[in-house]
Symmetry: C2
Subunit: 260 residues, 2 copies
């Protein structure tokens, strides 16, 4: 008797035609039955946006003729894709949801801006084990080959062990040749941030506008962080929760004079 | 000698002309020097989106002639507003950032979809004490008067006590007459979620589309949650963190066979 294959929902935030999701689909097909529901256009930096003031289109598409699984292109955000996949396409919860492989890092504080991770978190909220994968290479021609081994290993572990309620995984892969990646490290989110810089310009009509730019600054010296691991050539694996309560501050806050 | 007034940045996600931000501005003017940088249009459900693939406009506007403080209207998201305020308008960190008062709840899991809270979190990431305020009334004609007292009290407490690094406050106010609000309660985020329903329609050209709808389901029976407090007529105050690491799962995850 063969064990039933898991049903794996694949999504991302770079759009359904991005090279990163193509690699992810190929790896997932080795592990289960795949259905793809992904944005029709890039959604990077969308955070946990959902579409509530606009209509959503979601239609079956064929990206590669030799692919036997079904793929759907959705006009919404990554979080929308997970919602519509569960409710309108699969009519059940998939056994696993994977998002990515993102073109660019989602380590450290980037997790809160990340469309890739918002899809994983949305799945987690719905009780679906979920993993977001990102490669530290923004290039459209990024080499996703070295990532395959780690994507497969961690997904196998999640299929085997499950994940606790309220936890999803944030996996980042360094931009290195396969021979130079040292393995995987379980980490915490580094306490780093972006120092914004705005590039101020004037448009042809004389109106000022800005481009958001910035540099990433990590002052967290801990050797247990994702930034540390990535810098040393490891794949970082951070368990991520969406109970945002700062439980450690509840006691102090209860001592405030709020009702005086 | 008079104590220097705090510089308070006011923003929101319903847009700079929304009634909720007008109430918030009035209360803040009693507590400090106010600068407003808010989206030029509604940004509800934007989560922690930032604008990285498009240009940003940000210009001084006059919403009310009798207002002496400065107000800026920004084409971006709530998180963009905080970034541009700090970098390009104030050229310093404000002493406090307040966001809202949102037209509608941001309790429980709504915190992850919330543009209101994303502005507060963005400020927190930048090291600025921050509070998001929401009223449980989606109506444009919502009565914000009963909220004033609580908004002022909690803001005074934050000005006096500060907030720990990495923590911002999520304050939700029940839709009740002033006489029926019982006071404030420090809470944790309820473990609730949305059960999505998609309203499927066909457009005049025969193409199917969807509206995202759903109902909010709270199975968390704890009497220490924001949902419980709001249901009992209290203002809920949840301390929110943006270190999303599920620290409680690190040990177990380290026992997985990731590198075998």
């Amino acid at each position: 008797m063969t064990k039933k294959k898991p049903l794996i929902l694949v999504t991302n935030d770079d759009g359904i035609t991005a090279p990163g999701i193509r690699t992810l689909i190929e790896v997932m097909k080795e592990l289960g039955d795949v259905v793809v529901v992904a944005p029709d256009s890039p959604q990077s930096g969308m955070g946990h946006a959902i579409t509530i003031s606009d209509t959503l289109f979601c239609e079956q598409v064929t990206i590669k003729e030799n692919y036997k699984h079904k793929e759907y292109s959705c006009s919404g955000t990554p979080a929308d894709c997970v919602k519509i996949a569960t409710q309108e396409i699969l009519h059940r919860k998939p056994d696993l949801c994977v998002s990515g492989i993102n073109h660019g890092s989602n380590s450290s504080i980037n997790v809160i801006y990340s469309g890739t991770m918002s899809a994983a978190v949305e799945a987690g909220v719905e009780g679906i084990p979920a993993i977001g994968f990102s490669l530290l290479d923004y290039s459209l021609n990024a080499d996703f080959e070295p990532a395959r081994k780690y994507v497969k290993a961690i997904t196998r572990n999640v299929i085997k062990n499950g994940l606790p309620k309220g936890v999803v995984l944030n996996v980042n892969i360094p931009k290195l040749p396969a021979s130079e990646i040292k393995g995987m490290k379980v980490c915490r989110q580094a306490n780093a941030q972006w120092e914004e810089e705005f590039d101020k310009r004037t448009n042809p009509q004389g109106r000022e506008y800005y481009w958001l730019t910035g540099k990433f600054v990590n002052k967290d010296k801990g050797e247990d962080t994702d930034e540390w691991a990535l810098g040393k050539g490891y794949v970082s694996v951070v368990p991520v929760q969406f109970d945002l309560t700062a439980h450690h501050f509840l006691d102090d806050l209860n001592n405030w004079e709020l009702n005086d």
